[in-house]
């Protein structure tokens, strides 16, 4: 099996999808000949032509509006937003249009073919506008699916599933891992399920939950915890919407404890939703308050980024506090 980094895995998934179905199109700012500022769409224009892989003018609301129209027509657009921080001009097209297209038309029309890719997250000295994790903004929107992969293998399988999913999918890529995360990735076509969490490590004392780049942070924290004799069950949520309540609940019923971590600010972050649901469904089994380890309630800073981030030490401390409660 070849080794790929996350960008290569994503590029490979796009290549497979475009080769298989000529209704699949890739476009966005600089995704054409240049292959995107991160090079996720490298060589696709060469291979599939300018009509299927192209630069768009610099207008996110237009990119998603155009993509909505294409999807309604029956094409399978994969639109790139250059940074997740720049997805907000398209918020109306996504939240009022993409998400509600099928419902409002009574299923006469839908934009299920649409996939929106966007690099997200911190840890690259990006400051306010090259670091945001906006998944929670979209998680309040019935009709959308939201997926975040944690490594190259996941990225390829989930992206292929997203492109073929009958519903529109927001696919947030942890850009910090684009080149940093490498691993074995099958060359063939495969899909991983959307809407299902994955238990990446079994344990009995505490459940630790995250997604995307935080999974690496969790791994480091859990290694510290295991050294102190704490047995951690680790869950990668993978899909933020719809999210796999049952798997999380099952784990917490077993461990009685839950630590959730994400990069985005605390207030209104998706950990709140998970905590609210789990406290309801596991009320009598909880042995400690559900803990949230997140970014602070501020815009994303630069010089003090390290201090701001929900890093492994903060997660580790939360695990210890939960077990010691």
């Amino acid at each position: 099996m070849p080794t790929m980094n996350m960008l290569q895995a994503i590029n490979n998934a796009l290549d497979i999808a475009m080769a298989e179905d000529d209704k699949v199109l890739c476009f966005g700012e600089d995704v054409g000949i240049f292959g995107g500022v991160f090079r996720a769409t490298s060589h696709l224009q060469e291979k599939y032509g300018r009509s299927r892989c192209f630069n768009t003018p610099l207008v996110e609301q237009g990119i998603i509006g155009f993509a909505n129209g294409l999807a309604a027509q029956g094409s399978v657009p994969v639109a790139e937003i250059q940074f997740a921080d720049y997805i907000f001009p398209a918020f109306d097209q996504i939240v009022n249009e993409t998400a509600k297209f099928r419902y409002r038309s009574g299923d006469l029309f839908n934009v299920g073919g649409l996939t929106i890719r966007a690099p997200y997250g911190g840890g690259i000295s990006g400051g306010l506008y090259h670091s945001q994790s906006p998944e929670a903004y979209f998680a309040h929107t019935p009709g959308l699916k939201i997926v975040v992969p944690r490594n190259p293998y996941q990225a390829k399988g989930l992206l292929l599933a997203a492109i073929r999913d009958p519903d529109p999918v927001l696919f947030f890529e942890p850009k910090r891992l684009y080149r940093a995360s490498t691993g074995e990735v099958p060359e063939e076509d495969y899909q991983l399920p959307i809407g299902e969490a994955e238990v990446t490590r079994e344990g009995s004392d505490v459940t630790v939950l995250g997604w995307g780049a935080q999974m690496e942070v969790i791994e480091r924290a859990v290694e510290l915890a295991e050294k102190e004799g704490i047995s951690c069950e680790v869950i990668d949520l993978r899909s933020i919407l719809p999210w796999d309540q049952d798997s999380v609940v099952e784990s917490v019923l077993k461990t009685g404890r839950l630590v959730i971590t994400h990069e985005a600010p605390l207030t209104g972050g998706f950990a709140g939703e998970v905590a609210a649901t789990v406290q309801e469904r596991c009320f009598l089994y909880l042995e400690a308050p559900i803990a949230r380890v997140t970014g602070m309630d501020t815009p994303f800073p630069l010089t003090l980024e390290k201090e701001y981030l929900a890093d492994h030490l903060k997660v580790f401390e939360a695990i210890k506090a939960s077990v010691a409660f």
């Binding site: 199109l25 009509s51 299927r52 192209f54 768009t56 003018p57 207008v59 609301q61 237009g62 998603i64 509006g65 155009f66 993509a67 909505n68 129209g69 294409l70 999807a71 309604a72 027509q73 029956g74 094409s75 657009p77 001009p89 109306d92 097209q93 009022n96 249009e97 509600k100 099928r102 419902y103 409002r104 038309s105 009574g106 299923d107 006469l108 029309f109 839908n110 299920g112 019935p142 009709g143 699916k145 009958p166 519903d167 809407g195 719809p242 309540q245 049952d246």
Partner: protein, 407 residues
């Protein structure tokens, strides 16, 4: 590509150096302007157009009255703009996609949407293709290639560009016509759409209904320029301004626009100058922002009368036919309205279907919980309670209708 012409003193252009004329064919008395040439139009198509205009007018009048009587929660009229909307539609291939704003029911009438179909949507009953989810006038029809209306303004404009681009790639030789108001054209999505369509050569006709107002806002407070048409220069896009109350001019202009779109893969902008004769919607009272006199002046330019005069001049129409048409349409509206009003609401399950292609576990849980709750208080939720003891027959009808619509 920028021009290479040079100047050596700092002279500003102001827009006064260009002006965009209005294309007109038909005078109000039904005769042609000198030098004007009517587009090819069979008696059959002419009458179809005229019937559609009248059917739209009658529907609007009756439904606004029904709204005033409290039978309907909300309504919006096309009144005054029937020529613009129906003339544009008549210039299309029936398989061309139409993406409209909300005031273009005439297009649906022309394509054969029945009064029953209108009524089912207006009353949000179990036969509404939209399953009773959207406010009245949010029609859609897959079989008639008419995209379901969405309230947020201008969102359909970039979507139309994308839809048309897809048609081009599919080699359909079809185009998309996108209707929008001069108010909606202020949205960012308008700029995005026209620019993307021009750069990517999408076969789309952007059809701006400039009816002078966006609710209470007159177009003079909407933009400082000479209408919407000059914006085409910013995208190097073909453009024409047309008298929107002139059915022949609209038809001729849109036909030519369609050829440019489909044969040259180039987007086109049409600005149809007209006037919203009625209130913005049933919630609006225009006396707060415009004069009766202004309204009267425009009533003189009624597009339906203008076409009627032309038809009579052609020898294709007379007073008796007019009377018979009006009467039969009025009768039909009332009958279909009664039918639709009595139809039951959509079933409870329609609350959670179509959010996703399949109902998610969370939604299923929420629906089950709702059902339990309604069982506890059936009298508080009469519409929902019906579903718990479903009238199987009614439901079957509904799914038959949907099956038809889905082709």
């Amino acid at each position: 590509m920028t021009t290479t012409q040079e100047i050596h003193s700092p002279t500003f252009l102001t827009g006064d150096e260009l002006s965009i004329p209005t294309f007109r064919l038909l005078k109000q008395d039904g005769t042609l302007y000198d030098g004007g040439e009517a587009p090819e139009l069979s008696r059959e198509q002419a009458l179809k157009i005229y019937h559609s205009m009248v059917a739209t007018r009658v529907l609007d009048e009756r439904m606004m009255a029904a709204q005033r009587q409290g039978r309907l929660s909300f309504y919006m009229q096309c009144t005054g703009e029937e020529a613009a909307v129906i003339g544009a539609t008549a210039a299309l291939d029936d398989a061309d996609m139409i993406m409209a704003q909300y005031r273009e029911q005439g297009a649906l009438v022309y394509r054969g949407f029945s009064y029953d179909e209108f009524m089912n949507q207006l009353f949000g009953n179990e036969l509404d293709y939209g399953k009773g989810r959207q406010m009245p006038i949010h029609y859609g029809s897959r079989k008639l290639h008419y995209m379901t209306i969405s309230s947020p303004l201008a969102t359909q404009i970039p979507q139309a560009a994308g839809y048309a681009y897809g048609q081009k790639l599919a080699g359909d030789e079809l185009c998309t016509l996108c209707f929008f108001g001069e108010g909606a054209a202020s949205e960012g999505d308008f700029h995005a759409a026209l620019n993307m369509a021009a750069v990517h050569e999408a076969p789309v006709i952007f059809f701006c209904r400039n009816n002078g107002y966006a609710i209470s806002t007159p177009s003079i407070e909407q933009f400082a320029a000479d209408g919407v048409a000059p914006r085409a220069y910013g995208y190097r896009m073909h453009v024409i301004r047309v008298d929107g109350n002139d059915i022949l001019a609209v038809l001729a202009a849109t036909r030519k626009a369609r050829r440019i779109a489909v044969e040259q893969n180039k987007p086109v902008l049409i600005e149809a100058m007209s006037y919203r004769l009625a209130a913005h919607s049933s919630s609006d009272d225009p006396s707060g922002y415009r004069s009766k006199k202004e309204e009267e002046a425009w009533r003189e330019k009624d597009p339906i009368l203008r076409m009627q005069h032309w038809l009579v001049g052609q020898g294709w129409w007379n007073d008796d036919e007019e009377k018979a048409l009006q009467e039969s349409l009025r009768r039909e509206v009332l009958e279909t309205m009664k039918r639709a009003e009595k139809r039951p609401p959509p079933p409870l399950d329609s609350l959670v279907s179509d959010v996703y292609a399949d109902v998610t576990p969370t939604l299923q849980r929420q629906l089950d919980q709702l059902k339990r709750h309604i069982r506890q208080y059936p009298e508080a939720y009469p519409k929902g309670a019906r579903s718990l003891d479903p009238d199987v027959k009614a439901r079957d009808d509904a799914s038959d209708a949907h099956a038809q619509e889905g082709e």
